[in-house]
Subunit: 457 residues, 2 copies
């Protein structure tokens, strides 16, 4: 929460004015104008600026002021390295030391080893130690997103002494609205909100008014689960403990918003087979590099489809009309499979599926596939009959659509469940994969049926 910057001068800063002040090297006027804005808006200006303008910013702004910008900045993971390379190493080390530890660690995780070692060596020892303590937590765990800047008070304090501790901690702590109560061994034993504290009598003992049933998460807990808890319980912060219940850190709601956005955007990207979501300031070459691996992979899968169709070349040769319905049948299989996939992936992501038996879900999807398959088959038989006047082809296409939709719906829900069971993120079973798989299945069904009834066509 970065000392809660609650002010900002509208959403946009006056770029022209700022650039003008920079060009005329009016340091004081620039600082006054620039620093009056919210750090997020400052970060937008900083990211948009040319490298030589950024050099001026490094001169005009203290590492501490730049740290506020980096608390709020939105950069792609692979952009941090270049930005930090622009800075003098001492400046960069001071900047990182001035940030909340969790945010500093997030950045260090994106830099190369050499940079990390150099900054941690230059940095003052205390700050470096705090960072090193967090650096060894695995990515995507509670430990990796927690911060160590929290307020803890001993169980035997009074409200008065607790308020004094709070007043002293206020400038540095990430949040002072939740106060964590610890026992002599630094184990988490309760929680109290600032709301409760300000209405309590000053001489009351904390232990008599604190909430003892405090919800906490283990350092190794998955960050998605943490996000889920903060969302469900509407917490502002959640304490993180080790296996002996020692209080190690806290996770605040603002960090969790980023996790939620990241995970949702990740699922979305994978459904569309775009590996990491691209940003918009990149050239076509960078975009192509991100998309091509998926496209080429899908191309090879598509060649399998073509190969399989090759087996039916003779059938196609005899009744060319058959080919006309291939995109329709493959398309319908792809569409229904993607629907089932999306429902299953989101269900796994939100945790709803854990609560229900997998078998029940599959049975439900089988039922859904049956109903949608029958409905679509009926429509298509009528359409083909009235368009081509050919009932037999209609029945053939209808049968193919029915079985394709049924199989595709089942596959669309079965595959993510299977992958999830194998402890792999189910979102990797992206839309295009399911679609290509369903292409293959549906074409084999269709042309197989056609070959079987070839004599009648």
């Amino acid at each position: 929460m970065a000392e809660e910057q609650i002010t900002a001068q509208g959403r946009e800063l006056d770029e022209e004015l700022l650039m003008d002040l920079l060009e005329r090297r009016e340091v004081e006027a620039f600082r006054e104008e620039f620093l009056s804005h919210h750090p997020y808006d400052q970060s937008v200006f900083y990211v948009k600026a040319d490298p030589d303008v950024r050099q001026l910013l490094y001169q005009y702004l203290s590492p501490d002021e730049m740290a506020d910008i980096y608390e709020a900045i939105e950069l792609d993971d692979d952009q941090y390295e270049a930005y930090f390379r622009e800075m003098n190493a001492n400046y960069a080390a001071d900047l990182l030391a001035d940030m909340y530890t969790d945010d500093a660690v997030d950045i260090l995780n994106e830099l190369n080893k050499e940079q990390v070692v150099s900054y941690l060596t230059i940095m003052d020892r205390e700050a470096a130690q705090k960072i090193k303590d967090l650096l060894h937590y695995e990515e995507y765990t509670a430990g990796s997103i927690m911060t160590t800047e929290f307020v803890a008070i001993p169980k035997n304090s009074t409200v008065r002494s607790a308020m004094n501790i709070l007043r002293n901690a206020a400038p540095d702590a990430e949040t002072i609205y939740y106060v964590f109560v610890i026992d002599e061994e630094k184990r988490l034993s309760g929680i109290i909100t600032l709301r409760d504290l300000i209405i309590a009598d000053e001489d009351t003992l904390i232990s008599s008014i604190m909430n003892e049933r405090v919800v906490s998460v283990s350092v190794s807990e998955d960050q998605e689960e943490v996000a889920r808890m903060i969302r469900d319980y509407d917490f502002l912060a959640l304490p993180v403990v080790d296996f002996q219940h020692h209080l190690l850190g806290i996770i605040t709601v603002d960090d969790v918003i980023d996790v939620i956005e990241e995970e949702a955007s990740d699922d979305y990207s994978k459904l569309a087979a775009v590996s990491n979501m691209e940003t918009f300031d990149r050239g076509p070459l960078t975009a192509a590099k991100k998309r091509l691996p998926w496209l080429v992979l899908l191309l090879f899968l598509g060649m399998i489809t073509a190969n399989l169709m090759g087996l039916f070349e003779e059938t196609l040769d005899q009744v060319a009309l058959l080919a006309v319905f291939i995109p329709l049948i493959a398309g319908m299989a792809g569409n229904s499979g993607t629907q089932a996939l999306a429902v299953a992936v989101r269900g796994i992501a939100t945790g709803d599926i854990e609560e229900e038996s997998k078998l029940k879900l599959l049975a439900r999807e089988a039922g859904t596939g049956l109903i949608t398959g029958l409905a679509c088959a009926t429509v298509v038989i009528l359409l083909v009959y009235f368009w081509k006047g050919d009932l037999l082809i209609g029945l053939l296409v209808g049968a193919a659509i029915f079985s394709s939709i049924f199989v595709a719906t089942l596959a669309g829900s079965f595959i993510p469940l299977l992958i999830h069971r194998m402890k792999i993120d189910p979102a990797v079973a992206s839309g295009p994969f399911i679609t290509t798989l369903n292409d293959i299945i549906s074409i084999v069904i269709y042309l197989g049926l056609a070959t079987l009834f070839l004599g009648d066509l």
Copy 2:
């Protein structure tokens, strides 16, 4: 933030014990056990229970206790009506009056008119008036998600009197961590955090320490923009004002998390052509009902593809091998189009695209389509050549893949931009639509080229 329930007894409650206590009608023991849990966990039990068990809950829990449950509950929009129908109208009205106004309004928006009128009539006048004031704000605006339970203090108060106001408001306000400062005309003129208040001297005037550059949103602002601001600025709450800057309400971070999840899940569902995301406790018939409209619509679009292919029946009749590559070409067009679509839709959703010129984006996508198209075409020419030993067919398929990918990539980014320009949610241009459109384009290109060079095949 619902009075900040910061306690909870693990994530799971002991269902067996609770059911047992209910069956033995041990009201007090049940209440003690049940109410010791977090309202979210209570809500899970309540939703899972059979209707006759829920009747017991309505007897054993006060409307106020049930209101806490409804603050935390996760129901589909169309489920509220049935749940409220189970309750006695007086109970329901009291429940709604005991909720935070914004949450009560969210529920009333899902009930039918008759229910709304009945509850508002029974309810005590003050509560009913508060709800009516919020009910007329349009859905998806700041007004529709704001609450009126905030703490406002006059500009000329001292820190001491402000703290007294806060202590009195603490039990009812949604947050007391941000305190809003108003002038004589109730216009928003500043903001101060509880953090600042507790470290300030008691005799200080609020006007001398408040932050005057307070960020606020208009009641009619889009909720996505509100979510964006709270996320970017890491606020706990954001004030909502009318055009004369009168303070009308606040939006808290927990409401915004729901908006972010809702919007992300909405975009995701539409990419997969599942209208509203289904939940998992529904039968196959309900699921089929939600998916069928999309499938039938796509079926009709697919028939257009089939019709167009019918035009080339003669060509297909002469060279059956051509049909073999149709799913591959259509698939590649679909895949690259979906990639471009996902990037554009997310870009619009996160607001990144507003900042950049649309033309630049399209130029970039054209470049990306060119590169990916060329790369895939090269791969496919080699594959077909080595597989079929036929360079001409290889070149034909390659040319078709190149132009299909190029056109599909452009269409995938152009269409959502166009729809967005027309003030429609770009996510409605779902994956399957783009895919079907690209089917048509790619098949016409492929078979068109083939017909042109038919003599040489």
